[in-house]
Amino acid sequence: MRVERILTVRRGFGALLVAACCSMVVAAPPSKVALTNVRIVPVSGPPIAQGTVLIEGGKIVAVGEDVKVPYDAREFDLSGKVVMPGMVVAHTWRGMDIPNESRPVVPQLDAADAIDPSQLYFEECLRLGHTVVHVMPANNTVVGGLGQVVRPIGLSVAEMTIDDGGFMKLSMAPRRGSDRMLQMATLREAFAELQDYVARLAETKYEEKLAKEEREIDVLPVEARKRGRKELKADHIDDEHRNLIRLKGGQVTVEGESGPTLFSPLGAFVYCGSAMDVPRAIAFAKAHGFFDRLVLVLGGDSHKAIKALKKAARPVVLPENLVYRDVDPFTNKIEETFVPKVIADAGLQFALLPGPSASLPERMLTYQAARCMRYGISRTDALRAITQMPAEIIGVGERLGSIEVGKDAHLVVFSGDPLEFTSVVERVFIDGIPAYDRSEDIRLKRLLTTKSDESADDEQ
């Protein structure tokens, strides 16, 4: 009783803080939280029929059947419920206002600058149990900019940020109004221009050096570029080119006011709108030194390039539409392919994406995973494709994606089996914070309340 009263007070306090979004409660994580009597689906191992997850300081500190709940822990008795790791959306532009910058080559951009914490999208993420979102520039680009890994709670981007994105967005499929010849020419130009930029910069720096020493230019430009290289410092290079150098694997150090910063190499999320883009993306990544950090974002009939995908053995992000339809031009017969099955059979690491928000069931990752099971993918692999896999693909696999001791406490409590369509998300814990409670979800309540219910309430 006492605990509950405290809860109510806290909740009231939270509601005051964020009056607009009832279900987004952001506060410092309670020091200890225990989820007890709950069926645990850790994804990284076999389910535990009834057990406890103990969270301390936002991290999972114990998981198991016989975990002793400390007296000072805030306990949630979740008997009959199922808890699974928070789901990971590997690639989405949602959370930003506009999917892409209108210019084709913008490696200097960062999705972190465009994320809007007040977007309803993040609230929707909570409702669906998606606790990690990799916000990335969309596919209508050539070199689109950097992504950011965020959690759907927080009042600022900084508060939301889980990890600075380590991936550049590239697209092999043509932008709107473009075609593949132009797309590839533009992409090649961007990298050719990088060479030229560095050379030109070196040449300029060498000339500047000579000017400082009040000497005449003594060598041909080719030699000047070589000599100028020594004069080059990281902060001479602008953001645009620095990110391309990072993509190519070069670690760039910038001397800032607060000391030198090392920019680590970038990976790339390369969108392939069609099978023909796949071998090209792989070849391009190899040519520019980011093959080891390549993630292929598949679309359209990309699965037809399964041979190339299998050979490359790079992780893939699957298209939103899991079923691809081919129409025979003579007979109009439709042949359907369930894409994840093709990918899974090839033994590739893959992440499922939620469908568009307009599609009621497909926007749930659990639904996408359930469909995979229906088409013959094992339950474990289907669950991994919405948790562990995407977490690993976006580089936060160490911290997220499963219920294991030491990992961040991103937990989703379902009313039943998560892959059962009738199950609903009841609670969401993000870094130990009780971030969502279905019973407090006003918007959902409004949606689910009928007129007669309201009048009944009035009478009371």
């Binding site: 010849m181 130009e189 930029y197 030109r200 910069l201 430009p221 090209r280």
Partner: protein
Amino acid sequence: MLRDRDTWIGGRAWRATAMALLLAAMTAGVQAGESYVVRAKAIYPVRKGMRADRAFMPGVMLVRDGKIAAIGTDIDVPAGIATIDLRDAVLCPGFVSAATSLIRPHAGEHSISGAYQAIDAFDGYDEHPLQLATGLTTVHLDPGGHRLVSGRGAVVKLAGDHAARTLKAGADLAINFGTYDPPPVVDIPFYASSDVGIEPATLQGPDSRMGQIFAIEELIARGDALIQRLGDPRRRRFEHHDRAFVQAWRAGLRLRLQVRRAADIASAIDFVRRHERDAYFVGLGEADDVLPALVRSGLPLVVRIEDPYRFPAWNLGSNPEVYEPDRSVAATVARGSELPIALAGLEGDAGADLKMIAALAMRGGMSEAQALASITRIPAEILGVADRVGSLEAGKDADFLVLSGPPLKISSHVLRAYVGGREVFKAPGTDALVVKASTLWVGDGTVLNDGALLIEDGRIQAIGHRVPTPPFARVIDAGAGSFVTPGFIDAHSHLGLSGDNSAAGPEVEIDKTVAVAGREFLRVAREGITTVMLSAYRAANNGARVAAVKTYGSGRDDLVLRSTAGLKFRMGNDPSLAVKTIETALEAGKKYVKKWEKYEEELKKWQEAQAAGKQTVVQKEEEQVVEKAKEDPITGIWEFKVSGGPLPEEVSGTVTLKLTGSKIEGRLTIPIAPDEEVVLSGTLEGDQVVLEVEQETPFGNPQIRATLDREDHMAGIVALGDRFQVDFEATRTNKDPVEFKVGRRKRRGKDGRPLPPKVDQALEPYRAWIAGRIPAVIEVFSAAQASSVMEFVLDREKLPLVLLNASNLADIGDAKLKPRKEQIGVILPERLERRREGRPYSQAADLARKGVPVAFQSNAEDGGRNLPLMALFAVYRGMGGDNALRALTIDAARMYKIDDRVGSLEVGKDADVLIHSGHPFDSGSRVERVIVNGQEVPRDAE
């Protein structure tokens, strides 16, 4: 007889097996790395030094690991190798197009660029079925004809493994003379600010013919500066597209010069000569104006032929400057020079069909040989891929087309396409079949020379000298000397009865014995007998049914043409009695028919009433039928007395009885209620009479049980259940046949609709016969029998008649026979020759001469396969060949009134077609192919 029905599943399975074998052969051969042999009617290799319209006939090609290992008319074939026997099909190299618009021009704005690569736009995973269907297997991809220098072209195959498709990724550098006014280039800096201003768009050249050469020359001249990036590093823009052009130019790529106007052709020739580059021309609408210069240049040409059939609405109006395509250009250049000439479609026309284009070029005067080479070998040579594709030669890729006819014949279609030895396209399923032959014996009295048949959906759809060839239709060209006839009919067969010679009555539906076409069917079908008139070996006295059955098909629905096509009678030796049996049976049939007629009449009335909106009142309408009885121990009027038991006094009355067989019907009246007639019914067994009185009492109907103790007298009891019984005695006072007015309630449906009479299977065939829909097939031996049968059936009953056997028919004399020749048909005895009056006599020849329609019978099961030989023998013994053919086809069909479906090659009839190597009655002629319901009967698989 050993029957193997159990293991033999039958027709559908058969066909499925045959198809599976065929497909297995086809697909087994197309596994990569495997070897197989293709045999075809003709193979056009289109190799250098051999006229392109010359073919290996027949052709054999050995394919190994996706390459052609050997090709010719007769090559050494390794033992045990898979064979694809394409029989009627024709092979030629896959078509090569040196100018397609498979990919759209690039969307970049730069006027001169080497950065655009056509290979980037190629979808190497697309199966390109629409292009393969036109025969295209290798294409050049053009970055576009919309910019002065649009980029690098590529040469690719349209099918096969993704990695193996690219023949040349950077094949050439596309320069398009006569392309002016490119869009300005807008380069908005990012981020534009007060420091970094947005520059006005950069205008690009060329705007004129002068400008185009200058623009290219300028870039070539700037080469080093561009590549080495000389100049002030702070101001210098990164000119990616210009640099890429210079790189491509320096890489020594071939120049693909797309030109249309004569002036551009001239300056292009000049340009190439100046730079001493390897180049080829594309387009050349006005080539004939600068022909000498072109010839001097020695450069290969890809001539674009405009295909106005797809865009007929190009109105030229009165503008004198308008450009009018001339399809004779290719032919003119070809005649005037030794230049390699390839043919291609119009720029921007993604649907260009090379065969149609070749046809247009031929209309413009190009030879067929040149036209075929111009869409296969020559473009491959021009594109520099002739070592791989373009002709069928040992060592080259096995890229070939399977066509339904010669490659450039407008009616032939691509049935299959192979790339790298693998089947990559298969024509969508169609059962359309065209049969071409030098003679078609139509069956309606006409003979068509050099004609063709179109078969679709199992029916003949067209016949004539030229018939439409639907897309992907299979074509059988039977060749010189071939002779096509309708399928043969065995007019009396027992196929499939497996020796069951029990007698069958008219109620036996003989077609029900047909379930699947087993091996014996196949044996008969292969010899050309496509329809058999099936009946039991022996007919019952009241006849047996004859069914018309096809010999090849996938099930009963396919096989049974008509379940009742005749009513067969077998006569005893006494002619008068024989007719009597048929007469009696026919009487019963007539009665049955009357019932139906009545019903139909009523139904019509009812329908009319319904139509008029009248509500039919369901009345207890009764019909009066008068039935007579004959004299016998029971029939007559009996006076009876009942006494004893509970009766207070003796009751007497009269009862009228009638005996039919052992059944008794009667009416009973008693004087105290003379108006009330009570119905009696019962039986007579020996002398025991049992009658039931149809008057209900609480104890059931009273029953009379009496014994005929003496003539006209019976005595016994009347029992009322087991409660009461009284004595009964009756004496016959009148032996006259009695008539009852029998009141029968008419059967009506709920809405007053009259209900049909009960179907009597035994009488159904009679109904058909009386209606004239089927003939009676009456087996007669003597002339006297024949005569009496004809008198009865033809003269008295005026019904259709076929005489079976009738060996001695000629004996009745011409005077009697000739007037009837239009009305009868004669099925010749299976023994065609015998002695008559001591001399060999051929009834077939005799009757045919007299104009009596005859037909052949086997009177056997699969012995029917010898029917054509019987006909051959009949011809040998003096029957006219045409008569014998008629006897096997249309005459037999007419006798049985199935000539609406079979018997001749007419539009709408079943496609039962025989292809003979010569006239069927030439000594050396064979039945080469048999088609039943549009399906070819497999020859060799058993």
